[in-house]
C-alpha cells in the first residue's frame, strides 16, 4: 500500500484557561497519519489524549498549530463548517456509547445520514441497515439501547460512525466501559474495519489493546514521547494470555 497522508498536525497546542490558571493540555503535537493505518494513542490519565482526539475530530479548536484533514487545512472554520466535516469525514466512537435513548439501533445509525447535506438522495434506511450488518447487528436493528448489552451498544455506535464512510475513525477509550470478553469483540471489529482499509485512531489505557495496532503513540504532559511501529497481535490471543493482569477499566 502506498503512503497517502490522511491527516497531519503541526505544532498543535491547546491551552485551557480556568480563572487564573492555565492548563497546557497539548504542547506542540506533530502527528501524521497515513490512510489505512491503525494507531493506538496511549498515555496516563490527563496526558492530553482526549483533547487531541477532540481536535482531530473537529469537536474542538486548537489554540495554535495547523491541522490538515484529507488535504484540506482546517483553520478558521466556522461552527457550521466543522459540523459538516464531523458529519462527512469523521466517525467518532465514545467510551460512553452516546446513543440516543428510546431510539432504535437503526434510527441511531440513520441519524448522521439525516444531517448529511453534501450527498443528494441516498437510501438512508438501506445504508444504515448495511452498516449495522457490517458490525454484526443485522438482527438487532429494532432494539433500543436499553435492550442491548454494552458491547452491542458500542457496536451500534461504531455502525453510526461508519455509516457516512468517513476518512478516519476515532475512538476514545471505546472499551473503557466494557468487560474483557466484550472488549475483545469490539477490538476485533476495529481490526476487521482496519483490514477493510479504514483508518483507525483509538485511545486506550490498556497495553493489550494497544498491541492490536500497528503503531503506538504515547502522550505525556501534552507531548508525544513515543511513536513506534509494531507488529500487531490479534486481539483474542493477547487477552487470553494477559488474563492474570486484568486492568480495571479507567473512567476519564
Amino acid at each position: 500500500m502506498h503512503h497517502e497522508t490522511v491527516m497531519r498536525t503541526e505544532g498543535l497546542t491547546k491551552v485551557y484557561t480556568m480563572g487564573k490558571t492555565e492548563v497546557h493540555a497539548l504542547q506542540g503535537i506533530n502527528l501524521s497519519v497515513d490512510r489505512g493505518e491503525m494507531i493506538a494513542i496511549v498515555g496516563a490519565s490527563g496526558s492530553g489524549k482526549s483533547t487531541l482526539m477532540n481536535i482531530i475530530g473537529c469537536l474542538d479548536y486548537p489554540t495554535s498549530g495547523t491541522y490538515h484533514l484529507d488535504g484540506v487545512q482546517l483553520q478558521n472554520l466556522s461552527r457550521n463548517q466543522l459540523a459538516d466535516i464531523r458529519n462527512s469525514k469523521i466517525g467518532f466512537v465514545f467510551q460512553g456509547f452516546n446513543l440516543l435513548a428510546r431510539t432504535s439501533a437503526l434510527e441511531n445509525v440513520e441519524l448522521p445520514l439525516l444531517y448529511d447535506r453534501s450527498r443528494q438522495k441516498i437510501a438512508i434506511r438501506k445504508t444504515a441497515e448495511e452498516a449495522l450488518e457490517r458490525v454484526g447487528l443485522g438482527d438487532r436493528m429494532d432494539h433500543e439501547p436499553n435492550e442491548l448489552s454494552g458491547g452491542q451498544q458500542q457496536r451500534v455506535a461504531i455502525a453510526r460512525a461508519l455509516v457516512t464512510n468517513p476518512s478516519i475513525l476515532l475512538a476514545d477509550e471505546p472499551t473503557g466501559n466494557l468487560d474483557t470478553k466484550t472488549s475483545v469483540e469490539v477490538l476485533t471489529l476495529f481490526q476487521e474495519l482496519h483490514d477493510q482499509g479504514m483508518t483507525v485512531l483509538l485511545i486506550t489505557h490498556e497495553s493489550d489493546v494497544a498491541n492490536c495496532t500497528q503503531r503506538i503513540i504515547e502522550l505525556r504532559d501534552g507531548k508525544i514521547v513515543v511513536d513506534k511501529r509494531i507488529e500487531p497481535v490479534k486481539a483474542h490471543m493477547t487477552t487470553v494470555t494477559d488474563e492474570s493482569e486484568e486492568t480495571t477499566p479507567a473512567f476519564t
Binding site: 469537536l59 452516546n98 435513548a101 431510539t103 434510527e107 444531517y115
Partner: protein
Amino acid sequence: MKGSTLIKIASQSILKNKMRTMLTMLGIVIGVGAVIVMVAIGQGAQSQIQDQINSLGTNMIVVTPGSSRQGGVSRGAQTYNRLTIKDAEKIKRESLFVSAVSPVVFSRTQVIGGQGNWRTTINGVSTDYQIIRNWDLKYGRFFDQSELRQMRRVMVLGHTVAENLFPEEDPVGLTVQVRNVPVEIIGVLEPKGQTASGNDQDDVVFAPYTTVQTRLSGWSRIFQILASTPSSRDVPAAQEEIRLIMRESHGISRFAEDGFTVRNQNDLAETEQGTTEVMTMLLAAIASISLLVGGIGIMNIMLVSVTERTREIGIRMAIGARGRDVMTQFLVESIVMSLLGGLIGVGIGFAGSSILSQLTGWNTVTSPTTVMIALAFSAGVGIFFGFYPARKAAALNPIQALRHE
C-alpha cells in the same frame, strides 16, 4: 436539512416523550379551549341580539324627540321638539319612501279582567303599527282605521298579558277594565320574546292612539313615531326625507338643530352590538391570558428539556448537526406541540361550547374564523416561546454538551 427530515426528527422526539409532550400541550389545550368557549359565548350573545333586533320589525325607522346623542355624549345644549300627531300624518302623507307610519303614545297601567289584574304598558298606536313591527296575531285581529277614528275602546293583548289574565284561553270578545273603562279584547299577538336588554316585548297591550290619548290615560304626549319602508334599500333615503318633513313641520330655521332624532334599526343595534363586542373582546382577552400561560408552560418545558437533553444535543452535534439543525428541531417540536395542543383545544372548545349551551340555554356560536385564529395563535405561541430555548440549545458547545450528565 430537508423539511421532511426535520419534521421526522422532531416528531420522533415528541413521540418518545409522551408524558412530557402531554403535560406541555395541556396548557395550550386549556388556553385554546377557553378562547373558543369564551368567543362562542360572546358571538352567541351577538347573534341573539341581532335576531332580536330583526324581530323589532323590518326596515323600521324611529323618530324620537330631542337631538341625537353621539356615542352617548350630548353635544352641548339639547334642543327639544315635541312630536305631534300632525308630524306622523305629514310623514305618512308626504313621504315617497315610507309605506307605514305610526305614532306611539304609552302609559303604564293596570289591566283588570280574567284571572285578576296585570300591570303592563299600554301603547297607543295606529293601524300601521302591525305592519311596521311585522307582528302576527295569534287570535282575533288588529283594530282598523274606523275604530281608530272613532276612538273605540278596543284592545290587542301582547302574549304575556293574555297568558297571565286568560291562561290557555282565547279571550277575543271578552272585556277588561283599564282605569275603570271597559275595553273589548279584539286580538292576541304572537309572542316575540325578550329584547336584548331583557325586556319582555310581549308584556304590552295595544289600543288606537286616539283611544289612549282621550280615554285611557291622562297622558297624550307622543313618545315616538315609527315608520317603515317596503325595502331596506330605501331606509337611508326615507330617514333623510323624514328629517326634512319634520323640520318643515316644525318650522325649524336653516341653521337650527333638528331637535328630534331619526334613527334606523342598525343605529339602534349599534349600541347593543357595541356592548357585546366589548364583552366578547373581554372574554377573549381573559381566555388569551390562559393561552399565554400555556405558552409560558411550553417555554418552561422546552428550557428544562434543553438542559435535560444537553447530552442528546451534544450527540447530534458530534455526528454533524449544525447549530441551526438543533435550533430548528427544537422550534419544530414546540410548534408541533402547540399546534397539536391547539387542535385538541379546538375540539374541547367545541364540545365545551355545546355542553355549556345545553346546560345554561345560552346561545353559543363557533365559527371557522375563531378556529383559524386560535390555531394561528397557538402556532405563534409555539414559535415565540420555543425560540429562546431553541437558540439556547443551538449555542451549546458540542464537547461540553457531551460531557453533561
